[in-house]
Symmetry: C2
Subunit: 873 residues, 2 copies
């Protein structure tokens, strides 16, 4: 028995979107609900997959099934494809499982030929209408099936309108259109070398293949990558009897939502155009009218539409986005789907559907896309002002939000000018750890180099600061303090406006509006907290970040990077002294300077976090990142250290590494210089003692980075414990601290049973774990990953979403082996991935205790954690 | 019941070396065989482990057991510790499971005090002897128990000899010695603050603790690391009744081997000294006599000793190394063990023991240490000449063998001068791929920087070229062509001699002797081939290496690195053109130049390998390694390419990477530039066609490097297959080729089931796999790994021996998942580890099909493979 690839709408299973696509499934549902849906059939997604498996060929089997289904629909309609008297016409539409912009959308009026167009003219007694349909069909078909650009045809139309001295298409007569058709066909022949197909069946198969092909066009691939849609899904094709909205003034076509997609307000919202086909509504040549207006034009159709839309919303339990056509006063439903909406609308609709008793809280939570919440958490451009602006360039949308300020070319400049109350955006070739302070005070950050995981992007996201990265159109002259963008020079006096959500850069000032958290948002968070099992912590290095995250619902700090504290102007000198010290004595002297600073940092962070747990990671980056590289800075440091500049230069040179990512960093530093770990332990414990004396109950979690072997952990832990005991004895008090480790090296995951013997907790550092498991550095991968996406080797960015097959397998092994040794071992994640919804779901599945992410992603993680818990039930 | 930590020799289990150490076990065996062994007892290795567990404290429990055993031995001897009339004296010796230089060896005469020394004098009627024993004991005890250096005591002796006007110690009288003892004791008090212990029991516990402590002294740690001995083993301590070889002219002491340890010849071999204690034999002040001479002195003792040594060899089935003492004409056996021997002796003895019917072939194979074979495969210094030479500096023993030649400071110079027939050693700060040709013609390589896995070391080992690396005493001035070593300047006219097995550097010419493969060696290899299951291939990039490896028994090439072929002077230009090409056209033009060269390379390599399989790895290193960095070279290339120098500089700059190890290399290159893979495929297949037309039957194996995801492999494989099919069709013939992959990225091992779907074979690239699994680069790890060894975090170098817990676990996962998909999937290893015996054993255990290693390690791998198979039975 052969497989069934083609189903009539009434045969299809409306619940099976995987097979019939969203559009096909919903057409089947509407058909079953007895709604006025033009007859038709769906070619399944499996046919699409087979098309690619067969080397981009539609098999005879599928063609036969298409023509079988066609025959049945013809019979029902009492018309025939290509019939000179009563021609059967169809629309052909793509329909993937998820709505996918970028793919071929629609071909209307398919079935028209030189002969059948006459039948249509006769039948409708409207030759102008018939020829208009035909010329539209030729245009659309040429465009999507043969790739013959629309502009060729537009030119011909424009020429004719000029000849005739008319302005609108509608002013052309039937005879004009006939002439136009002849010219179109001639163009088609000239450009493609063959006649425009006069066999409707050939047209149909051509259109079906065009839909299949559009699944793999570049825009569709990019969209899938951005939205985690696997290419294996394929698209379905829907073939449907044509109904005509352009049969005169009693006909029309339109789109409508059951609720306002911008605000979520519960009211029918949409627009329509009489005497028009779908494309006219979108084209914007004629201004469509509000759906409310239909009530006056045709109250019966309006009543019927309201009834249908109400039924559909109740049936699908969600806001619907519907397409309809009125043919000579009769309403037809062409499509319905859950409507896209803004984040604001999404949370309002979800909450109100619960209030209306239509859905449960759990269902409401599943209706909100966690990623969308991002919109609610950053300042945005004033929408009206934005409409007037035109971007001057585009970079990578590296950290969301909008920013506007005058250009600062160095971090120092940014600090000074913002201290004077100026709003600045920091524009750099690329940023480095030394720029941290400048980044913190800037409204936004713009870089010429680096990807979404560059230093600028990662730090900006952590800070919730808007960032556009890797804009190659920038030519920056730091010395002269100018940046040239596409030939135009901008200076420190010029404003730039950045949109970190789109990557657009605008010249001049666009006002921004602050993020606003409405009551619905709170309610959604409240529900999410009720249903989730995973705890959500934050990655925060400053009291400001910690406070922000708590406001957003974080239940502790999962990653406090101590090194970020080292770059502050008042500390870097001592840090450098420590690094270039030649003797233990020199190093301890420098560390003694750092101790009170670190202690104060921790006091402030503990305070911001209340009694929530704080995980403090010990010094991690290669020391080379801290040392000066400019001659004058080196000279100054050498003087301070009492050594010759040449000697210091040698020391700095000696710190250079071939592969710093794989170099002397993490716990390796503490093994070489245990005194660093000792100083940090002192700061952690003393700060806790001070807070606890003030009535707090701080339980610090000390986290040792980059452990690959249990003996590394043991060695550093011994230093920590010994120091902590000394400090506690000295102060005659106890602090309830724990010592755990990052699991960020493959070997740590593979030997987690051993490592768990020495670790009180595990925290998966998925940034480094991803780098090492894949064997590429994120600083360098940008150079070749685009080829990987283009060639469909990667379908998503493994630095944004955890690769579950590889990296995730190591995580699973790590959790399993770790808990084999310690049944209740606390496990979390603190990589950038911790705020990615699909990763949060994965973390839930493998049994982690918490995820930790940047403050601005906390609400996203909370919602994703709730969704994971609900879905797992 | 408490644990037994102390056993009399007659109680101990002579088979249990783990518990009693080698020395203790063999004393037990000899005691049971009824041989004349002085009574005593062994403190087990578990007591040593417990000592460390208890925080370096000997528990009361163990002390009690020691004194219990002591009492029994005293009783048997009829003497008492510290007895003023008949004092009991003992020796205390360490004895680990494996013989371990670097640990405390022996304390003799323990039990002597100011009082008991008088008893000994009376009893032996020989005061001079008694006081001599006592002063020796004070010296030894002070040295090993309190760390008071021997030189202090030597000074006092020298002073006294001067005062007395005598030359030899033996010329000092009993009274002199008494005075000496008083001075020694005064010194002891002065330096340690306490009196020399007068309680023999306190002496004994002090000595036992000194043995335990010596287990962790630096020399012992280094030795263990070099020999893969875990620190958890611990050492045993043997306490034995003293017998005296210094009781006059009928007493003596000596050591002997049952066969000649240098040549393996079957004859009693050894030396002895009358009227002496053990240390005198070693000290070299008096010249010992050959063991044969004993026959004349005391025929009965000689006969008895020959009988015992024959019995011992038959009993232990191996050449014995024995210590004995004659006390007033009576023979005592103090120790026996399997003797250390040269590689030459090892293979001769193993073969002859089989001929003598004492052992089987399998047992013979287990008696040869595979690592030792290395000695047989490289030129060595003439031993007589070497004795006269004194090293001027020492570097790392990076690649074994000896070399002698005049200094060449650049690769070019080395090539030119060696073409003129000069023998040169290449002296460089460090080597880079551009130095390959120079390294190939040099007799040896000496570098100032880099470790055992630096470029120089890895390449030199691959070539079987002697290399001393990382000698920090070198101050090289390449421009002036001088090198200063510890203040002495050497020029191009000076000879240096290098010993790659010890790391020693000698000034001047030391003649070398070529490697000689004797008949025994062939026989051992023949037996090894008979018993092993693992195939052994070689890593070879040139026909010379391939031929060398075949001579040594290799059964194919497991890794042919194509990039090494790219550095030759006549090719690098075309390679660079390919790299900096801006268009596909330019790149293909450059590739077309390379094609015939690569094809010729492969033809020659196939020819050298006969019909054995050849695995060719496609281009792997980051492209940056190939491009010029000097201004004039850049200008020349720019001219050739028809571009501005600035543009070329930009391209070169753009190739730089933060972490090249994790950058754009391996299959990632072929994904960006599929035309490179296509060119290499053409060369591989065309070469095979040409060889096959000449009657060969070449089956090339194409290996894709650095695969982390099956889709990467699939993409490159598709290019390979398509190209291969085209080439074969063009020539109207077929080549039986396969396409496999390196498993060198953790993710590849973790997803091996998927990767196996596209791979005909797996080859574990354990160099990169180790780097990524541990998360450190071998170029940088040198900086901190010494701290790791010092702090006992690592006990071996994971780049020399596969880390079985982490990297090995990934290998196991890889093999298991791969064979889950393809039951018969061929799996091998081609990292540097492939020639390491413990790794070979591991590869056997996890079911690999072959190991591949550098040509000079092929015999080692063959023997190790046989041992693994025999041991697994």
């Amino acid at each position: 028995m052969t497989k069934k690839y083609v189903y009539l709408f009434k045969e299809a299973d409306g619940k099976n979107k995987a097979l019939f696509g969203g559009k096909g499934a919903n057409l089947a549902e509407m058909t079953k609900l007895g709604m006025p849906v033009p007859e038709g059939f769906t070619i399944t997604t499996e046919a699409c997959t087979k098309y690619y498996e067969d080397g981009k060929k539609i098999s005879q089997e599928i063609i036969d099934q298409i023509f079988d289904a066609l025959a049945k629909v013809e019979k029902q309609a009492g018309k025939k494809f290509g019939d000179p008297d009563n021609p059967f016409l169809v629309s052909v539409r793509s329909g993937a499982r998820a709505s996918m912009p970028g793919m071929m959308d629609t071909i209307l009026n398919l079935g028209l030929t030189d002969i059948s167009v006459q039948g249509l003219a006769k039948l409708t007694d409207n030759p102008r209408f018939a020829y208009d349909c035909y010329r539209r069909f030729i245009q659309m078909y040429s465009d999507v099936v043969t790739g013959l650009g629309k502009s060729y045809f537009e030119e011909i139309i424009d020429e004719m309108k000029e000849e005739r001295g008319v302005k609108l298409d509608t002013e052309l007569t039937a005879e004009d259109l006939k002439e136009l058709i002849a010219k179109f066909k001639a163009l088609y022949l000239e450009k493609t070398g063959v006649e425009f197909p006069q066999d409707p069946k050939q047209q149909l198969i051509g259109a079906v293949e065009a839909v299949f092909k559009s699944w793999e066009n570049p825009r569709a691939i990019v969209y899938r990558r951005m939205n985690d849609i696997p290419s294996s899904w394929g698209t379905a094709v829907n073939v449907q009897s044509m109904v005509f909205g352009n049969m005169g003034e009693t006909s029309g076509t339109g789109v409508a939502f059951t609720r306002d997609p911008a605000t979520g307000e519960r009211r029918l919202y949409g627009e329509y155009l009489m005497n028009a086909q779908g494309e006219d509504v979108v084209a914007g040549i004629r201004t469509p009218q509000s759906i409310d207006h239909l009530k006056e034009i045709n109250p019966e159709v309006y009543r019927q539409f309201v009834e249908i839309s109400t039924r559909l919303e109740k049936y699908f339990k969600d806001m619907q986005d519907m397409e309809f056509t009125i043919e000579r006063g009769k309403l037809y439903m062409l499509q319905t789907r859950n409507g896209k909406r803004t984040a604001h609308a999404a949370i309002r609709i979800a909450c109100e559907l619960v209030e209306e008793g239509l859905i449960t809280e759990e269902e409401a939570l599943l209706k909100v896309d966690p990623k969308q919440l991002d919109e609610l958490l950053h300042p945005q451009f004033d929408a009206k002002e934005l409409k007037k602006a035109k971007p001057i360039a585009q970079g990578l949308a590296a950290s969301p939000g909008a920013a506007c300020g005058k250009i600062a070319f160095t971090a120092d400049e940014a600090v000074q000018r913002s201290e004077r109350g100026e709003a600045v955006v920091l524009v750099r070739l690329e940023t480095s750890p030394e720029d941290i302070e400048g980044m913190a005070v800037a409204k936004g950050i713009l870089t010429a180099r680096g990807g979404r995981t560059s230093h600028a992007a990662v730090v900006a996201r952590g800070m919730g600061r808007c960032c556009v990265a890797g804009c190659s159109d920038l030519i920056i002259n730091e010395k002269e303090k100018t940046v040239i963008i596409k030939g135009v020079k901008y200076t420190s006096d010029d404003y730039l406006s950045l949109d970190g959500s789109t990557g657009y850069i605008y010249a001049g000032e666009i006002p921004t509006v602050a993020a606003e958290i409405s009551g619905y948002f709170e309610k959604i968070m409240e529900w999410a907290n009720k249903y989730r099992r995973l705890k959500v912590r934050t990655n925060a290095d400053t009291p400001q970040d910690a406070k922000q995250a708590r406001d957003y619902g974080a239940e502790g700090i999962g990653l406090c990077r101590t090194e970020h504290m080292f770059f502050a102007e008042d500390r870097i000198a001592a840090v450098r002294e420590m690094i270039v010290a030649r003797t233990l004595e020199q190093r301890e002297k420098a560390l003694a300077k750092l101790l009170p600073m670190q202690r104060d940092d921790f006091i402030a962070i503990y305070e911001a976090m209340g009694d929530y747990p704080v995980t403090i990671r010990f010094l991690d980056p290669p020391l080379h990142e801290f040392v000066p590289h400019k001659k004058e800075e080196i000279d100054a440091l050498a003087k301070e250290m009492g050594m010759a500049s040449e000697e210091l230069e040698n020391i700095i040179e000696g710190l250079k590494e071939f592969n710093p990512m794989l170099g002397h960093r993490g716990c390796r530093l503490s093994i070489t210089y245990p005194e660093i770990a000792a100083m940090q332990t002192k700061a952690v414990i003393e700060a806790a003692i001070i807070r606890n004396q003030r009535g707090a109950n701080v339980k610090p979690e000390i986290m040792i980075p980059l452990v690959g072997d249990v003996k590394e952990l043991k060695y550093v832990k011994d230093v920590v414990v010994e120091t902590a005991e000394q400090v506690m004895e000295l102060h005659g008090t106890k602090v309830d601290y724990t010592v755990g480790t990052m699991i960020e090296i493959p070997r740590a995951a593979l030997t987690a049973d051993e490592i768990a013997k020495e670790a009180d907790f595990f925290s998966f550092g998925t940034n480094d774990l991803t780098q090492m498991t894949y064997g590429f550095s994120r600083d360098d991968a940008g150079k070749f990953l685009n080829d990987y996406y283009d060639k469909k080797i990667f379908e998503f960015d493994p630095f944004q979403k955890v690769d579950q097959e590889g990296v995730g397998k190591l995580m699973k092994i790590g959790v399993q082996l770790g808990r084999q040794t310690k049944k209740e071992l606390k496990c979390g994640i603190c990589g950038e991935h911790g705020g990615d919804p699909s990763t949060v779901e994965f973390c839930h599945e493998i049994g982690l205790d918490y995820v930790s992410c940047s403050p601005f992603r906390v609400p996203i993680a909370i919602l994703a954690a709730a969704q994971a818990a609900i879905q797992q039930k």
